[in-house]
Every structure is written in C-alpha cells, then in structure tokens.
Amino acid sequence: MNPRNYSVYLDKDRCNGCTHCLRVCPTEAIRVRHGHASILAGKCIDCGMCIRTCPYHAKKARTDALARMEDFKYRIALPGPEFFGQFANLESIEVVLEGILELGFDDVFEITRGADILAARQREILQSNPRRPLISAACPSVVRLIQKSFPELLPNIIPVQPPEEVAARLAREQFAVRHQVRPEDIGVFLFTPCPSRRTHVVTHPGMERSHIDGAISIMEVYAAMSSRKHPAATRAKSCATLYGMGWGAIGGESTAMGLNDYLAVDGIQDVIHVLEEIENNNLTDLQFFEGMACKGGCVGGSLVFENPFVAKNRLRKMMEGMPRVRLDGEAARVILGEGNDVLLDNPLEPLPEPKLDENLLVAMRKMEQIDQLAMKLPGLDCGSCGSPTCQCLAEDVIRGEATELDCIFRLKEYISQSARELLDVSCNPEEE
C-alpha cells in the first residue's frame, strides 16, 4: 500500500507507546509494538481520531506547507465554512478573505460556492436515482470507510465530487479567463480541516485527477494569520449563502438540499452503526444519509484550531445575515458551464482489507485457531499487548505478527506455571 495514499503518520520520537490511540481507532488500524505505535495503512481511513487523542501529539497529518504556494505564479485559496468559524469578533467574512490575500494569495474562492452547486445537483440526483438511502459523498473518511468495510453500499453513495473539488475547478477557470493567464500557472490550495480531505486531493477516488494542487492545514493558516495585523481595507467580496455555509457543520448538507427525510450523523462510531443498519436493509425508506467522521461535522476536524462548539456557534451567527438562496439545477448547470458537471468520472472502487487467506478453507481454519486462542485470553481488551482487543491479538498471533505471551495475563500465567514446575522438580528429585 502506497503510504502517500494516507495522511496520518506517526512521529516516532514523540510516541511513548501509551496505547491511547489504540483504543479510539474505529477501524483497529493501530498496533503498539516495540514501544511505539504503528499504523496499518490498509486499514486507516484518515479520520484523525488518533491525532485528537494522542497526549504527546505524536500522531500527525501530512499536509502541504503554506510556502508551497511559492511554486506557482498565481495562487488561489479555498477556505471552507469551518475556516470562518475559527475567528472571534468578525465584523464580516470579508476581513478573513482579506487576511488570506495578505498571506500572498491572488484570489480567494469560497468552497460554499461548490456546495451551493452540489446541493442543487444532488437534489436532482435524488429525484432520478431510486436507490435508498442515498449516502453523502462529502466526508472522504466516510467514503473510504464504505470502500473498505461496506463495499455493497458503494452504489448508494451519490456519485459526486466533494465541494472543494467543484469549487477548485471553477476557481481556476474563472481566474484564468479573468486575468488571461495559463491555468497551469495557477496553484489552487485547499485549507483543510482534516487529513482525509488532504488524502482525497492525493488519491481523488473516482476522479481522473484532482483540481487542487495542495492542501494546507487550517491550523497552519490560522497560525500565520493570527500573527498579522487586522486588515484595514477589504478587497474581496464574499459569495457565501446561508445554505452553503451550513455545510461546515453536521446536517448542513441535508438542510441545503431542502430535505426533511434524512439522517445526519456525526462521529465515526455512530456513522458505522448507521451503515450497519443500512447494510441490513433496515433503512430502505430513508431518503438521505449524511454521515460525517468528526463530532459536529467539519468544524470538529482534527486540523482546526477552535473548539468545534464555539466554531459552530460562530457559523450560526454569521449565517443569520446571509442570503437564504438555493440554486436550482438549471442555475447550477449555467455556473458549471457547458460540458462540465459535478459527477465522478468513474465508479468508486471497493478497497477490501487483506483477507485472512485467499483460500476460504484456509481462512476458515485460521478463524478457528483465532477463536480458540481468543478464548484463552482474558477478554479485557486492555490494549497492553499492543493490539486493540483480545480478539485482535488472537488474529495478530495467527497472522504471525504477535505472540501469545504479548498478553501480560498469559505471560503471568506462563511464569507462575514455569515456577511451579521448577519447584516440583526441585522438591521431588527423581530417585536414582
């Protein structure tokens, strides 16, 4: 598995092997071996739970440095709604837009503009596609989770690009025309709230290529902006609508689509529970499922600075003064331009986890061994062995990646038994 396809990584020097991250990982993608954590690339969905949890900040995300923009003659910034929730006492969004320009960007293009178009197109798709429920494609972690663990639900995902991609293409095209410059001289940079949006830029599932040239963490942009003076004048004009802005928090997408029959679920564990229900055909009446990996939605991303509840409250207040405008499908098509749409180029592919064995019968034998071993383990799921659960350690042992005595309880038993045997031998020496 290409490590470039994942954004979360471990800073080994900071990790002290404490197992905090092990317990919160929703896909059991972390092991602690030889005193430090490691991430199983084939299982990680870049949800960022470990980044939030690690007390030593040893879990990090690969993102692009702000300085990457120097590689391009012209630069455009793509801030999403959650970015605006980072700032206190905003008299207007334009102040933030100006602050972004002062960092050296030539233009700012709000991702809400992509979201507005998507809401309109998704409403149309909901009309024409009878499958239920349709599932939001907005959170790349959820999409990847479905690719890995719920491949049968891939046809339920609305086959559209995420809002930042829709925005990025328009941003580049409009800038190139307006300034009469070559599109390839323009660098389009996403301000990302999370590792998974960065991963999407690199892997662009279902898309021939990404329209984005780099992903800079919101934390980094926020730090750069907070050390600068409050801008006096403002050049850029905000195009944000109330509905587009809503996408920054859970439920905003469904509201923007004007739905009333939807589930909006935040937090990756709860998302998994609902996907299980959908897989069991228990929600076939439901129109739309909006699942977001982070608590609160993107305001709760692992690479944002502000407390998600505070950011959400700010968004809500900002939205009060914004135009309540929804695009219709026709308007969306006009903005997209002749021959362009928001649809994916290719269907999303399953990304199955490595099997126990390619041969079913061998896999069954291994499963039996795993179950037998798991019965000998204490069932406490304490994580001390470096695997997240006893069942998982059993599997790791059978796969040859750990040993039974990594379990401290088994080790204790083993030692006391050895001691007893030794004692037996020394007390009852065999008679000659």
Partner: protein, 142 residues
Amino acid sequence: MDEVVLRKSYDVEAGDFESAGDASAGIKATLKRLGVPTGIVRRVAIAAYESEINLIIHSMGGSLTLTVDGESVCLVSDDRGPGIASIEKALQAGWSTAPDSVRSLGFGAGMGLPNMKKNADEFQIDSTVNVGTHIVMRFHLS
C-alpha cells in the same frame, strides 16, 4: 484433506431487545473476516437480522447458527415454540401477528420471512405448534 466446517451458534432470548442485532452482527463480521464475497455477506446479514428479530419478538427463545463449508453458508434458526399455525400465511408479504407494542418499535410489517426467503438460495421452514420453528437458509458460494 479432512472436511473443514466453521460453526458459530448464538443463543437468542425471547423479548431481549437489548441484545437485538448482536447475533447477526457477529455473523456478518465473521463472514467479512473470512473474505466471503460481499454480495453474499449482505444477503446473509439481512436474513440473519430478520431471523434474530423474529426469535426475539415471536418465539419463546432459541438460537441462530451459522455454518460455513467450502460450498455454502448456512443459517439455521431454531426455537422452543410457540410454532406457526399457518406457514403459508406467515410467508405472505405483509402478514403479521406482531402486537401494537412491537409495531411501534418499527417491526411487524410482515416482511421478515419473505425477505429471508428472497435472499437465501435455498429456504426451508418447518414448524409445529407448541413445539417450535426450524428454518434452514442456504447461500451458495459459487
């Protein structure tokens, strides 16, 4: 080579809504882990969930058993009564004896047995009133 058969059995108690879904979740997880084709896993999962809920709602308790061999996946639902008086009616889509208390939980559409039958490649049901119901569902692996 000796025959390889994997078997997992789950007890399901009458009225135990708290554990509802545990057995079928375990069955689904096992099949996914084994690498059984995902389309089959989903059909088994749907049938297993419906069986489990029926055991909780309609039966006096029983068990759900998963068996996998090289050729097929098999689900068996077995219970200790009360049995079904008319299997023919029970298999009709929309036919249900679920009381209102259960309907208010979203069950009782009378679609469980029809869905089990639809999703399994082979479906066999035997029931004796006051004795119990025995359902065998087989899913071919190839």
